[in-house]
Each structure stands twice: as C-alpha cells, then as structure tokens.
C-alpha cells in the first residue's frame, strides 16, 4: 500500500470525529442505564453491555442439567451459549437509547419519503403497506412445485400442507367431524394494483400456480375448501377496498361476507341440523386505528405518513345485549389465525366481537366455539387443540364441523407438522397449580424460560412467554410447593415487559392463578412454550 497523503490535523480530526460517533452509543447508554437504576427502573447497576450473569447462570444450568455424558454437556453448553448470545445481542439493540431515539426519524425519511419499508414491510402505492412475506407468496413459485418443496425442505421437516390437512381430516373423520379448510388470500393477491402500477384496479385477484391442484386434492379427499376469491372479485369490481390500508388483514365487510357465505354453504349441505333463531343481533361501531404494518415501521408517534383508518364494524350481541362469546359445547369449532382474531381480539386494536367466528355464529344462528392464535396458522391452532385434549378438555366432543382458517401464505411458508390428537388425557405430573378461582403468591427459582420475540419484528403487538420455576415456596418459606410452569406477559403493545428481564437462576416472587381462569381471554394471544408440553400451567403476574 502506497504511503497515505494526509495532513496531520485532518487525520487527527477524522479519527476524533469517528471515535466520538462510535463511542457516543455505549457512553450515552451507560449514562442512561445509570439514571434508570437510580430511579429504580433497573434492578442492577451493572451496565447491560458487560452484564455477564446470564452467560454464567445459563452455562451452569446447561452443564449440570444435561446428564453425566461429557459430549452431551458440551453440546448443551454450546446450545445455551448460542441462545444467550442471541438474546444478549437482541437486548443490546432493543434497549439501545440511541437506537430508540434515532430509529423513528430515520424510518420516517426512508419509508415516508423514499418508500424503503423495512425487513418486514414493503411500502405500496397510495399510502398502502404490505407484509413482505405476503408479497413473496404472491410472486413465488407454486407452493406445491418441486422447486418450492426443495427450498422448504431445508427449512422445516414437513412443508407439505396437503399431507398435514389430510392427516388432520383423517383424525376428525374417525369422530364424525367434517373439516372445512379456509385459506384467506393475502393482501397483495387481492389488491396488486396498490403495490405495482402494472395491475389494474378492476382485475381479477392473483392465484398461486399450485392452488388449483391443492383445491382439487382436498375436495377429492372429502375436505371442503372455502375459496373466497369470487367474493373478493365481486367487491373489487364494485370499487370496494377489501383489505385495510396499513394492516395485513381484511376489512370487516369482507369478514362478514365470508362468514355469511360459509354459513350458507354449511346450511345448504346439511352438515349441521336446523337450528332455532338464535336471537343474535348486530350493533354498529366505528373503529379508528393504525394498522399492524404501520406499527412495524416504527415511525414517530405523530408521523402523519400513514394515517389511521376508520372502519365500521358490526359487533355480534346476544339476545341479552351482551357481547358474543364462544361456547365450548357448540357443534362448530373455528381454528383461526389473526384473520379470525381481527375485530375480535382487543389487542389488535380493531374492536371486539365482530371477528370471523362471531359473524359465522351470527349467520349460522347458533353458538360457535373457537381456538384462535395470531400467526403460525399452519400449526399453532392444531397444536393448541392437541394440548387442550392432552389436558383433559376434549374440545372435539359434540362437534360436527371444524373450520380451519389460516392465511394463504402459510401454504408456502408454514410449518405443516403432523399433529396427533390424543384420545386420552395425559397424566398431569407434579406441577403446582392453584385451584380455580384462587390467587397465591409464591417465590421460586427460574429453571427454564421460553423464547421472546423482538418488538416490531412480528406481526402482533402482545406476547406471552413461559417460565419454569423450581423450589417453589410460599413467601414465608414454610410450605414447599415443588415446581410450576407459569405464563407471563412478555410484550405489551410492542414493548418488552419487566418479566423479560427474568434470567435463569433468578429467584422471583410471582402471583399465580390457574391458567384456566384466564384462558378464555388470553388463549388467543401469541405464546411461546417450554420444550415440553405443560399440562397444568399457571398465569403469573409480577408484583409491583
């Protein structure tokens, strides 16, 4: 390398400015963390960057808890270290004060002015936003094509939706239950003209090249596939928007139309016996909200780039005038993802009791049961159904129809595991769980923690994680209660909760109640699980 020609003051200035820029981040972070600690909002004075306690505790737990074999211990230690390193790095970024301060204005320029989007979101036209994976699905090769299968085979063990749905159908058929599959088209398939100029507003919705084959195979096996393309085309041709502008999901009118069409199909096919008039009514309400995609961009609070959108929902009310609720012993069970949760789960911000299950119940004129979970529609709800049955709650008892709704993009990107539904409940084991309706405060040592998503990196705002406690005792230390598996809030409205600071080896105090006390309202919230199925989980809250 030839000699560098530079004046001494210039070289000095470059070095100092670059050093100041880089050092500004750790220095300001350390100062801020110190202030947070003095204000009682941090539990340690050790700066996060050099807080190695998690590595020590995690390594010790992995080493001692993986049996006597040296290679197994080494392997467990390596796995644990990888997990802790990833969490450490994520925490460092997520809790960076400089990042929090600079990201929103940077994103406003990049996305507001230049249409950059981010890893999860593409900017469309006329103020529309699109989920990146939905675009990939709409552009991608057919989900049953050899090329796509070869690509997916390296990512998940079972990428074939046909196999999983036929497996599910076989299990339901042995109990005399009809399976109805309902893949909801992705937003760019329904509104490609809002993403690319090459499409016309009145055109047909986009079809995956494999969809016809998928449809044919399932119908031949006796599974009805509820296709809403013609419904969407009809609404589009009459000039209506069918999806929300800054959200991943469909509009409330489409939800209602889809429910009405499905109800009509089920009635006409005689799948369900005739029912009396249920007395359900509709109550109109206006909801104004900003979509999940706009939230994922992390724009400044008053950005004005993607304004809130107003929609009219029709809430389903019982004859008593109370909001609709799912009924466990009804003949219809809806398994659904966020397309079923929207207008139903308050946390999504688009109102309550106007979601797909409620509207289906309204048009069927009968109660409906539902198991809903945002995201991972390819397996999450089937897994929840299996877990419920393993815990002794047979959600299939008395059912005539299971409606399995999921986003169509799951056909290409989902993990279509084959899930066996247990015929008899499993033994509950020795886990402590308070009796229904009771609340107890206990202390225990953290033995295992499930994964927590990074805020804004997932298409939901709330999340629950699981913690396994051991050495459980009442606060006075008199009574030993053994072990417990506890669900806690990990993320609320895209902000990590205090509970996510819990680390392996920590001793914590927590208020417990049985999960069954809260499952009706919290089951629909996304949740990560411990490695093993928990048969008697608790709901936990950390005292202030």
């Amino acid at each position: 390398m030839a000699r560098t020609i530079v004046s001494r003051p210039c070289a000095f200035a470059v070095t100092v400015v670059a050093a100041a820029l880089i050092l500004a981040v750790p220095v300001s972070q350390t100062i801020w963390e110190g202030r947070e600690y003095r204000a009682g909002r941090r539990d340690t004075a050790i700066p996060q960057a050099i807080d190695a306690r998690r590595f020590v505790a995690g390594s010790a737990a992995a080493w001692t808890g993986s049996g006597p074999s040296f290679t197994r211990r080494l392997s467990a230690l390596n796995r644990r270290l990888k997990t802790e390193i990833q969490r450490y790095e994520d925490d460092l970024e997520d809790r960076s004060i400089v990042s929090r301060f600079l990201l929103p204005p940077s994103q406003q320029i990049l996305s507001g002015l230049l249409g950059a989007g981010n890893e999860k979101v593409y900017c469309g036209r006329d103020g529309w936003l699109f989920y990146r994976q939905s675009i990939d699905y709409a552009m991608g090769p057919g989900f049953l094509s050899p090329r796509h299968r070869a690509r997916r085979a390296e990512e998940v063990a079972q990428p074939n939706p046909l196999k999983a749905l036929l497996h599910f159908h076989t299990q339901l058929r042995t109990r005399g239950i009809q399976l109805v599959v309902m893949p909801v088209p992705v937003k760019p398939a329904a509104h490609p003209e809002k993403f690319s100029r090459g499409f016309h507003p009145g055109g047909e919705i986009l079809h995956d090249p494999s969809f016809d084959e998928f449809h044919r195979e399932l119908e031949q096996a006796g599974i009805h596939v509820m296709v809403i393309d013609s419904l969407l085309n009809r609404m589009r041709h009459s000039g209506h928007e069918t999806y929300l502008r800054t959200d991943t999901h469909w509009r409330p009118e489409v939800v209602e139309e889809a429910a009405r069409t499905l109800a009509s199909y089920l009635r006409n096919r005689g799948v369900l016996p005739e029912s009396e008039e249920s007395g359900y009514t509709h109550a109109a309400a206006e909801i104004i909200n900003t979509g999940d995609l706009a939230a994922m961009l992390q724009l400044p609070a008053q950005h004005g780039v993607y304004p809130a959108q107003a929609v009219q929902i029709r809430r389903v009310m019982t004859p008593d005038g109370v909001p609709w609720q799912p009924v466990r012993d009804s003949q219809v069970l809806v398994l659904g993802d966020s397309y079923a949760n929207i207008y139903s789960l308050e946390a999504l911000g688009w109102g309550e009791t106007a979601g797909f299950a409620a509207q289906l119940s309204y048009y069927l004129r009968r109660p409906v049961d539902c198991i809903l979970r945002n995201d991972s529609g390819s397996f999450a709800t089937r897994e929840m159904l299996r877990d419920e049955m393993a815990r002794g709650h047979d959600r299939l008892a008395g059912k005539r129809v299971v409606v399995y709704q999921f986003s169509a993009r799951e056909l290409a990107f989902g993990d279509w595991k084959l899930i066996d539904l247990p015929l008899v409940p499993e033994a509950a084991g020795d886990l402590f769980c308070p009796p229904p309706g009771s609340l107890v405060t206990v202390t225990g040592t953290v033995e295992a923690v499930s994964d927590v998503p990074r805020p804004f990196s997932v298409p939901y705002r709330d999340h629950i994680f699981a913690v396994q406690l051991t050495g459980l005792q009442m606060p006075d230390g008199n009574e030993s209660l053994g072990r417990a598996a506890v669900y806690l809030w990990s993320m609320r409205d895209n902000a990590l909760t205090r509970a996510t600071r819990i680390r392996l080896g920590h001793t914590i105090t927590v208020r417990l109640r049985p999960w069954s006390d809260v499952s009706d309202t919290l089951d629909a919230v996304n949740r990560s699980e411990l490695d093993e199925l928990v048969l008697a989980p608790c709901w936990g809250e950390l005292p202030e």
Binding site: A2, T4, I5, R8, C10, A11, F12, A13, V14, T15, V17, A18, A19, L21, I22, V25, P26, L74, L81, K82, I85, Y88, E89, L92, S96, V98, S99, L102, S106, L110, L113, L114, G115, A116, N118, E119, Y122, C123, G124, I135, D136, A138, M139, G140, P141, G142, S145, P146, R147, R151, P188, A189, P192, F195, S196, R197, G198, F199, Q298, R454
Partner: protein
Amino acid sequence: MVFSSHVFLFYLLPLALLGYYALPHRGKHAFLTAISYLFYGWANPAFVLVMATSTLIDYAAALLMVGRLNPRDRRPIEPLQPGTPRTRPQKAALALSVISNLSLLGFFKYFNFAASSYDQLITALGLPQLGLDVAFRVTLPLGISFYTFQSMSYTIDTYRGQATPQHRLTDFACYVSMFPQLVAGPIVRYHEIAGQLARRTYTIASFARGTLFLALGLSKKVLLANPCGTVADAAFSAGSLAAFDAWIGVIAYSFQIYFDFSGYSDMAIGLGLMLGFTFPRNFNRPYLSTSITEFWTRWHMTLSTWFRSYLFLPLAYRLSRLLPEDRPLGLSHDHVVYAGAAVLTMTLAGLWHGAAWSFVLWGLYHGLWLVGERLSGIHRPKRRRSLPRPARIATTFLITLLGWVVFRAESLAAAAAYMGSMTGLGTAQPGAGLLAGVWQQPYYLGTMAIAAVVTWACPDTWEFTRRITGIKAAWSVALLVVSLLVLFTQAYNPFIYFIF
C-alpha cells in the same frame, strides 16, 4: 459476529482498539487473538474448536519442517532453502497440514453436498437401496474456507522456503484468527504479513485512512448492498418473471455481491490499518474489466492470487511435463496446458465458493471463458481494440451477469428457469408484476442508480483514500453518519461471503 452490527461497531470495536493500544507489543497479539476468538465464536462457540485445531496442526507442522518442535529451544529459526530437496519428515509435515486442512474443509463444507449428490446419483441409477440416507447434517463453520486457506499458505510457504515459521503460538494464532479478515478475507498469505507480525509502525495517517476505509466499506454495505439485495432476493425467490424484471433482478444482485464483498474487504483493510497491519488489496473496480481474464485480476484478487500460486501454477507445471510436445487437437502445447489448468482451477474455485453444483458450473463457466479468451487472443489488450472500450466493458459485464444467475440461483434448474425469464421464454406468472412494485420505489431505484454511478464512474476506496483531503474526509464522515442512521433501521444484514 457481523461488522455492520450494533454489538460489533459500538462495543467490540472500541474495546478491541482501546485494549490493543493500551497493551505493550508482546501483549497485543495475545489480546488480538482473544478478541478474534470471541468475534468468531459469537455465531457458534463450538466453531472455535475447529479453528483452534487447524491452527495447532499447522503451527506444529511448520515447526516439524524445520526440526524445531522443542518449545524450550529459543534459538532463531532459519527458513528452509528454496529449491533444495526436502526430507521425508518435511514432506510428511506438509502432507499432514494439507490433508488435515482439506479434511476439515471437506467434512464441514462438503459432507452434506457429497452425501446428497451420491444419493441423487444412486436414485437416478435405480439403486435406491444403496443410498446413504444420512440423517444428520453438518453445520458449516463461518469462514472456514478463508482461514483454512490462509493457514495452509503458511505451511506451503514454509515448505517452499518462502517463509520462516513462527516460534510463538500466539503470533501464529493471531495471524490465523485476526478478526478483521477472518471470516471473509482478504486472504492474507503468510509471507505477506510475516514481517508485520514481528514489527509494525503506527501512524495517525494510517489510522485515519483505516477509518475512511471502515466508513466507506460500511456505506457500501448498508447504503448500497442491502437495498440492492432486497430487489435481488425478491427476484430470485419469485416464480417465472417478465424479462425486464428478471434483468433488473440480476443487475441488482451484481451490485449487491460487489458492494457487499468489497465493502467487507474495505472494512477489513480499514480495521487492519487501525491496528497497524496492511492487508492486500482485494478489489480493483472489477466491473470496468474489458475481458474475463482482466475481471479475475480485479475481483477477489487475493483468492485469485492464492489459486494461481498454490494450484494453477503447480498444476500447469505438472501438465506441461505430462503432455506430449506435439500439437494435440491442433493447439499449441502451451494452450492445452493453460486450458487444462485454468478449467480445473476455476472449477475448484467455484466449488470453494459453495458446496453445490451451481457453484461448480459457475467456476467452469468462468474457466471456459478464460480459455476461450486465451485461444482467441482476446486477453491481449491489443486484440481487444477492435471494439470500443465501453462495448468491451458492457460485454464483459453481460458475461459476468449470466454467471451471477448460476451463482445466485438456489439450483441449476432454478438458474435455467431464471435465464428463461431473462430471454423472454415461458410465461410470467400472474403475480410476477409485483416485483416492479419493489424496485420502482424511489429508495431502491435511487440506490441502484447510485450503485451504477459508484461502480463505473467513481474511484474505489483504495484510490480514494490514498490522498485524504478535508472534503474527502468530510464526505466519508457524512457517509458514516448516514450509514449508522440507516443501520438502526436494518435488523439483520449478514454478508454474502460469510457462507463460503
């Protein structure tokens, strides 16, 4: 760990620089080795065992060659005499080093590929019962292709008498593991850096130039490579595309891979300068090449040099002695020797990039172009003057683009399908038009336009930083600021060459 990550830029880098300059010379190498192992083990702590194994074997093999395995023997080590015959133990030591390094590389990088290729072949022959059907998959340690080559260069240079073996393990471990160029090059051959390991000078001018290299490399990665990568990823994961969109996709990929890899090399060279080391140049505006022969003197220059020194030349020498002196196939002896050595070297260079048939084909494609140019005489500047220079540059770029399709596509079938889209064969699927919605956004279109200007109309980092003026310094610092701001909005941005 990735250079363009929060944890590296704001925590490990300041720690490394502060610790390094606070220590005396003797402690610097041990500290740098420790930091490098931390840097390397960040992705998977178990991988440090692989690197440590390779390091220990080569350290011992080189000392064995000069008969100095006794650690208490502190006398200065003399290099072997070049050109003199080698003893059996010396040959055995070299074989130990080469075989162990290639075995590590072969197992970790090529086991999955070999097993699946064998199964495919056996199935195609109608003998599935003979298939291996191996259930376990080997995880590829980051940068293994780079550090095994570097480490091998040490023992080969020692064997040839071009380098003096290191007595101190920490010095040698520092050379192998040095974090700036550990996982994606430039590949620094031992004799190029041996002198610097013994003594080096630290100047504010070098440090400032290193800072500019770092800033410009980060800008290339964050501001150019990543957005181009978004367009390329969308195009290559799509089904059948319209011809124009397919061309946009591969052009975006050509910018992505160039700015990603040259950005990384710039950052590596910059970090080296900040630590007092001078690494060799790795890129010299490759898309300005007027032939494929010239392209390989400008693209990943340290790899080309490595292959030339350790594979092509020995191979050509062997071939020239094996082949008869008459004119086989009507070609001159030299042409046949060149053709054989070039095609084999480039095919292996392709395989070095990745364990897949598409990489083999990519290497073969470039090898055949090299041979074609040699036979037609196009590689000689005088013969190329029949076409104007811009046309020659455009032609070479076009040839490179077709190569990138094979390189980027997930399989040979996908590459063929993509080329079908580029030539307008076949029908674009209904959703294909969505790609235009990605690249027509001002951010992506603007980035590709800027990438084109930087590629063909701006000096590269090496030249730009040779004379640092106030304006250049201000530009570089401004780019550093913008890159850091954009970095906060990008969650994950691994370098392409990490997987090689």
